[in-house]
């Protein structure tokens, strides 16, 4: 291993001037930011930010149009989930965070529906594979949301009812080439 040492110049090796330089920079930032902080208190210079901090969760960074957020289940016109409980998302999910219990639907043309559909976001890695695997475009990740913190693990398991209520982010762009939501996949099951 080659060790490269940088020789200090005499002035640098005195530390004093270098330290003074550093202190000057930090002191300048301090004074400038303090000035604007105080100005803001009096309602002045509101447009000049005194800090770059984003006060999450009150403020959020606007997400990109193609950002994968929390999951959502699309519904049929009657409000029931589009999901046919095929478990392909459960199959493809690399971290096994989707758990579906399927049931017999009274309508023989639907046949199978999810009795329960849980997404355990403590495990989810937001890879989006579930969205891609779904044959009927039932699961989307276009809510633009991040999981809210919870006090128990159970809080972070999203159930079917919750997932059905979510709405898509306006202007969400599903595909790189098509603006807007993009066409839904052709549905082999005629949903």
């Amino acid at each position: 291993m080659k060790i490269v040492t940088q020789k200090l110049t005499t002035k640098e090796s005195l530390y004093f001037f270098e330290i003074a330089k550093g202190l000057w920079i930090t002191a300048r930032h301090f004074v400038k930011n303090m000035y604007f902080h105080i100005a803001h208190l009096y309602g002045k210079y509101q447009e000049v930010p005194a800090a770059v901090t984003i006060q999450y969760p009150e403020e959020k960074i606007p997400v990109s149009k193609r950002w994968r957020g929390n999951h959502r289940i699309n519904s049929r016109p009657d409000g029931s989930p589009r999901c046919v409980a095929c478990m392909l998302c459960e199959t493809v999910c690399p971290v096994q965070c989707i758990h579906i219990i399927a049931g017999e639907h009274p309508d023989p043309n639907i046949e199978k529906y999810p009795v329960s559909f849980d997404v355990d976001v403590t495990r989810c890695c937001w890879c989006g594979m579930c969205e891609e695997a779904c044959p009927v475009d039932a699961i989307y990740m276009d809510t633009g949301k991040t999981p809210e913190p919870g006090y128990s693990r159970e809080d972070l398991v999203y159930h079917k009812e919750q997932l059905l209520k979510e709405t898509p982010l306006p202007n969400y762009q599903r595909s790189l080439n098509t603006p807007g939501q993009g066409p839904m996949k052709a549905n082999p099951m005629g949903l």
Binding site: A102, E104, P135, V136, P188, M189
Partner: protein, 545 residues
């Protein structure tokens, strides 16, 4: 003996063998739908077409017997094209329900499409709609749209189950399978319909929508439903997210064994696995405190058992204890039990023959009257006739002469009713060792949870005296333990006892000590079992299947 050349390889087979079977011998697989080795041949699906040198057209390999010097090709472009055309026709009206179809993953239509066709559909017209979710009976559901009219199900009912119930209605692309008017699908073999159906048209209610086939692991086992010992495959999953509450075993499917069950399984056995994950499984050792049971750990429970048994033996002698094992246990479990109670504690009152245990209904096909998989084994190990019978034991308990009863998996209350109930509630000590809560367990003082047949290794001896092996698919639920292991730990607390670490070690001892088992090892048992040379009755050779 005709010799044929199939794909440039030669094979000699019995006269009358079909091309398909001959090819199978060479390891060449010819796709087929309607052909089933155990059913008559109907030549319906045309999937098994092959090219025979000299024949003007392709021939169906399932129905054409080989002739000497025949030259067959199974993968020429012509054959492939024929297969593609057959698949295209089959798929014309097919609903492509794969995402919600239970067969998906093990569906021959899917498999062959991916192996042989992979062509997009050219069908522009509307598909023919047929009935979906038709109840053929309480256990089987039909989806006519998915049916490829191979008639395997029709033939199965007629030829194996012995009843003509199913038939084809309507013609051409409107044909549908259905039950003849006035008849019902209610025989004991309908579960096999879901197996014989090559596609997802017939599905079992029991398995429907529970799990996807690709989540399932499989391991060879023996059906514990009756003393026939049908060979089966247990399908289970390791993706159980609910801990002790979730389902782990999803179905039993038959495994071929010509000497036992051919390729079938009866419904009693097929759907009898539910106790494995049922809500009443015993998962923790427990001891009675007044009216209730209090959960405890193995050490405490076993120490308590050992101490109380020891005290009883010391105070009243070995005859104050009665042991009632169950022929549900494996040979290994029963042998360990015999070592413990018979040899170590010198208890003579061991009897597994609870009155009425073999009085089920015999259907003369597979299902036997004796609904226990290991009665023969228990007999061979001498677990009956050494002392009092169960009935006599119960009387003695009531008379106060027998103080303690050890129920190893058995449920006398179920068979003997009030008599046993009274006896058990009178006994000073009742130890219940078993898998599920039942009426006898309710009266026990100490409850030891045992493992079910999918949770332990072991062997069953069926009614013919065939030793067959069950394999461990899953860990015992909760803290349950294989029965031989419980006996071993108990034995070591009570005195000098072999320290068995696996069922195989127990079996090695059985092979050494019990005459009919001499020379048998797990390896020799293999997947098809081995027939014992029985002491009484006709001497059978060690049939090697």
């Amino acid at each position: 003996m005709p010799t044929v050349t199939i794909d440039e390889r030669q094979v000699t087979v019995d006269p009358g063998t079909s091309i398909l079977e001959a090819a199978k011998k060479l390891g060449i697989f010819i796709p087929h739908y309607c052909y089933h080795p155990r059913l008559t041949i109907v030549d319906a699906c045309r999937m098994c077409l092959v090219e025979v040198k000299g024949a003007p057209k392709l021939v169906t390999s399932c129905s054409n017997a080989v002739a000497d010097n025949m030259v067959v090709f199974t993968d020429t472009p012509k054959v492939e094209e024929a297969r593609q055309s057959v698949l295209e026709f089959l798929l014309i009206n097919h609903p492509l329900d794969c995402p919600i179809c239970d067969k998906s993953g093990e569906c021959l239509l899917q498999n062959y499409y991916f192996c042989h066709s992979r062509k997009p559909s050219r069908f522009k017209e509307n598909k023919v709609k047929k009935h979906k979710v038709v109840d053929l009976g309480p256990k089987i559901v039909l989806d006519s749209e998915r049916c490829i009219v191979c008639t395997r199900c029709v033939r199965f009912c007629k030829e194996v189950a012995g009843e003509e119930i199913l038939g084809i209605f309507n013609r051409a692309d409107h044909s549908e399978i259905g039950v003849f008017p006035g008849k019902k699908l209610e025989n004991n073999y309908q579960g096999n319909l879901a197996d014989v159906c090559p596609v997802g048209a017939l599905t079992a209610r029991d398995f429907r929508f529970k799990c996807r086939s690709w989540f399932l692991c499989q391991i060879d086992t023996i059906c514990p439903g009756c003393s026939n010992g049908c060979n089966a495959v247990v399908h289970f999953t390791l993706r159980n997210f609910n801990g002790l509450k979730g389902q782990r075993v999803f179905r039993l499917t038959p495994r071929e064994n010509n000497d036992v069950n051919k390729v079938w399984l009866c419904d009693v056995g097929r759907w009898g696995y539910a106790f494995v994950d049922s809500i009443d499984r015993l998962t923790m050792p427990a001891m009675r405190k007044g009216e209730d049971f209090v959960k405890t750990d193995w050490n405490t429970a076993l120490k308590e058992t050992a101490n109380r048994l020891k005290t009883l033996v010391e105070r009243y002698g070995a005859n104050a204890i009665g042991v009632i094992p169950s022929p549900h246990l494996t040979n290994e479990d029963l042998y360990a039990l015999k070592c413990l109670f018979g040899c170590l504690l010198k208890i003579a009152n061991i009897d597994f023959k609870v009155p009425g245990f073999d009085k089920g209904e015999d259907d003369k096909i597979l299902l036997k009257a004796d609904r226990h998989p290991n009665t023969k084994g228990a007999e061979l190990l001498g677990l009956s006739g050494t002392g009092l019978s169960v009935e006599a034991m119960m009387d003695k308990v009531k008379a106060g002469e027998i103080k303690a009863l050890y129920l190893a998996g058995s449920d006398p209350v179920k068979y003997m009713g009030e008599k046993a109930e009274e006896a058990l509630s009178r006994a000073e000590l009742v130890i219940f060792q078993g898998t599920n809560f039942n009426a006898s367990c309710k009266l026990a003082h100490i409850v030891l949870p045992g493992a079910t047949f999918v949770e332990k290794e072991g062997t069953f001896t069926n009614y013919q005296g065939r030793v067959q092996k069950v394999n461990k698919a899953l860990e015992p639920l909760g803290e349950a333990m294989a029965d031989w292991e419980i006996f071993t730990r108990l034995g070591q607390m009570l005195g000098v006892f072999p320290s068995y670490r696996s069922a195989e070690e127990v079996f090695m001892d059985i092979a050494r000590e019990v005459a009919p088992f001499a020379g048998i090892t797990y390896k020799k048992i293999g997947s098809q079992g081995i027939k014992l040379t029985l002491p009484e009755g006709p001497v059978l050779s060690e049939a090697k299947e």
